[in-house]
């Protein structure tokens, strides 16, 4: 019995839903990768294949009113916060039905109604925004908390330090979730950060910091559950570092020369989805067949999202100048 075992007592629908979410994230980004490779999607994209557990695990512990700020590697956060993959895919296709009416693309998907204050193309750019959202919650006593996703690379941006300090001195309800996927583009975290854990930086700002296995959904959820309780009760911010790995390159045209195939294999053996799925089957919560069904259905769902995106209209040029100002 470990600390995370509470999760298996959750209702089956919830557990299956989390498995579904992780598969949805996986299939979504695999599909995006394929379309980029075929030249069907332009621009650039950053995939979170292999990091599904941190996105899903963190958001699973939030309530509907809670908010998140996301990153350039944000498809998983978006799906986990309840976004519709159809509209996400449409956005990547630059279509009118996309979350940003085709004007944002992969790096700028926001789903304000669902509390996703948006992905961000600037490394560390969203951290002060999350602090601001938390400030609103505190000043208006709205009771929501804000989760600020960022990567190991952003932890070296000045905005991280300024914003965490500000949140700390004001006891703001914000949880900083660092998804440490080991590389800032090609820069290995061990070369770019002197200390062992980015979470250790929390002590520098007088807030709690936790390191967690980012590939273990139960572990992520357990740490997150505790942090949510702490923060929601007005104790101020928490810094969580989820150690994980991105299976794909940083973006397109990444030959991944900065890491070995052995290292990749090591992490792929710790596939967060398989880990969770096997545990569910092992514990008799779902059958092998049910697991297969989830996998197939989520894949089919993404195919339908593609269909939706492809059939959606291009935005009219008349909308070009809309929404620069409110």
């Amino acid at each position: 019995m470990t600390q995370a075992d509470w999760i298996w007592k959750e209702p089956k629908e919830k557990l299956v839903d989390w498995l579904e979410q992780m598969w949805t994230v996986r299939w979504f980004d695999e599909k995006v990768d394929e379309f980029f490779a075929k030249g069907m999607i332009h621009g650039t994209t950053h995939l979170c294949v292999g990091q599904e557990a941190s996105a899903v695990g963190v958001c699973a512990m939030l309530e509907g009113k809670d908010k998140i700020t996301s990153t350039h590697r944000g498809h998983g956060h978006c799906i986990a916060k309840g976004a519709d993959p159809d509209r996400m895919m449409a956005e990547l296709f630059g279509r009118e039905t996309g979350y940003c009416k085709g004007k944002g693309g992969s790096m700028h998907i926001a789903d304000v109604e669902k509390g996703n204050l948006g992905a961000n193309g600037i490394v560390g750019g969203g951290i002060p925004l999350a602090v601001g959202a938390a400030l609103t919650s505190k000043m208006r006593q709205e009771g929501y908390i804000t989760v600020c996703f960022f990567g190991d690379g952003a932890a070296n941006e000045g905005s991280f330090h300024e914003a965490v300090n500000l949140a700390a001195i004001w006891d703001l309800p914000v949880i900083f979730v660092c998804e440490n996927n080991q590389y800032g583009m090609s820069g290995p975290v061990k070369d770019m950060v002197k200390i062992e854990n980015i979470a250790d930086r929390a002590s520098g700002y007088g807030i709690p910091g936790h390191v967690v296995d980012g590939n273990s959904l139960p572990e992520v959820m357990t740490v997150m559950k505790e942090a949510v309780e702490y923060t929601r009760n007005g104790h101020g911010p928490v810094l969580i570092e989820a150690k994980t790995y991105r299976w794909k390159g940083h973006s397109k045209s990444d030959a991944k020369k900065y890491r070995t195939r052995e290292e990749e294999k090591e992490w792929k053996d710790k596939d967060p989805i398989r880990f969770f799925q096997d545990a569910l089957i092992e514990r008799g919560i779902i059958t092998q067949e049910e697991a297969e069904t989830v996998k197939k259905e989520t894949k089919a769902q993404i195919e339908r999202s593609v269909e939706f995106a492809e059939q959606s209209p291009e935005p009219s040029e008349d909308t070009l100048l809309e929404d620069v100002y409110a």
């Binding site: 004007k103 926001a110 601001g132 500000l166």
Partner: protein, 341 residues
């Protein structure tokens, strides 16, 4: 024009006269009393009262929750304001010197200005960033700049540059009410200038220029402290028989093009004056706008621009003065235009 009632000299004798800084404070206080969502955050704005004393006394009235004294973290202050604006608040950032906008630039240029558009029209960023700008205080190169052209260049931001106490009050109230990020420049030399400011709440819409002085021979478009220099030049030029019209755009974005164009059509001659460095300055934008407008066919002299020399603002007072346009420079430019030189 629009605010002639405010500026009218008839009731100057009897009317209440307060300083620019007091007018800014009055606008902030009135807004904060009226709307709980309005709050201020910035460095040393609490008991210290801000670097230029604008928020003096406000923490006593509104408390530290709404007059939020921050650490020296311009990016975080600005970003937190954006995030809180995005979630329903109406923050007013005080940035201690407008030179420090460099440190907040990512948050302004890449976040505040673009979020709404990138998100397909979802979310507003109703925030104001107030900041003291300009030279004349002997504070040298890093505390004397006029960088308004930087922000005016970025779609998604609005830019205000008031020149009088009454304009400052009305424009700041409009800026706070505006659903977009607004950069509000307060020229340091104007803080102590006095003028009639009505006590009651009023707003001056963003995007309305003001004709500060009517004239027939030459139009001078001037911003911030240059409005006063242009008016002084105009008085002296009147003795030479040159009748100057002085226009204060008051907001650079949006720009009231029509008032400027109409004036140039009337006078046929125009001089654009600002304190910012002439090269790449907003005066170039105004000059180009005139050349592209229907006023072109009425131009009877080259459009002239006056701005600071391309040099960091020097410390020595004589050198500092020599850097930015002075009354004599404005007078000479007007003479050249009128006398067909």
């Amino acid at each position: 024009m629009q605010s002639s009632a405010v500026n009218s000299s008839n009731d100057k004798e009897t009317a209440r006269s307060i300083t620019f800084a007091e007018a800014v404070r009055e606008a902030l206080s009135q807004e904060m009393r009226e709307d709980q969502d309005v709050f201020i955050l910035g460095e040393d704005i609490g008991v210290y009262g801000g670097a230029f004393g604008v928020t003096r006394g406000m923490i006593e009235e509104f408390g530290p929750e709404r007059i939020r004294n921050t650490p020296i973290s311009e990016a975080a202050i600005t970003g937190a304001a954006i995030g809180s604006a995005l979630t329903g608040m109406k923050p007013v950032v005080e940035l201690q010197f407008s030179d420090f906008i460099t440190i907040a630039m990512d948050q302004l240029a890449n976040q505040a200005a673009k979020l709404r558009y990138m998100y397909g029209g979802k979310g507003n960023v109703p925030m104001v960033l107030r900041t003291p700008s300009g030279s004349g205080t002997g504070a040298a190169a890093q505390h004397s700049q006029s960088l308004e052209a930087w922000v005016a260049h970025i779609p998604g931001l609005k830019v205000v540059q008031p020149s009088t106490a009454s304009d400052a009050k009305g424009l700041l109230k409009a800026a706070i009410a505006d659903p977009n990020p607004v950069i509000f420049y307060e020229h340091k030399l104007l803080y102590k200038t006095e003028g009639h400011v009505p006590e009651e709440a009023y707003t001056i819409p963003l995007g309305q220029a003001d004709i500060k002085r009517e004239g027939t021979d030459v139009t001078i478009v001037a911003t911030a402290v240059m409005v006063h220099k242009a008016l002084e030049a105009a008085e002296k030029l009147a003795e030479e028989g040159i009748n100057v019209e002085v226009i204060d755009p008051r907001t650079l974005v949006p720009l009231d093009e029509q008032t400027i164009v109409d004036s140039v059509k009337k006078t046929g001659k125009v001089i654009v004056v600002h304190e910012a460095v002439k090269r790449g300055g907003y005066g170039g934008e105004i000059a180009s706008m005139i050349a592209e407008s229907e006023a072109f066919d009425y131009l009877d002299a080259p459009v002239r621009r006056l701005g600071a020399l391309p040099v960091p603002v020097p410390y020595n007072p004589t050198l500092e003065k020599a850097t930015v346009p002075q009354v004599d420079d404005i007078m000479q430019a007007a003479r050249d235009s009128v006398h067909r030189r």
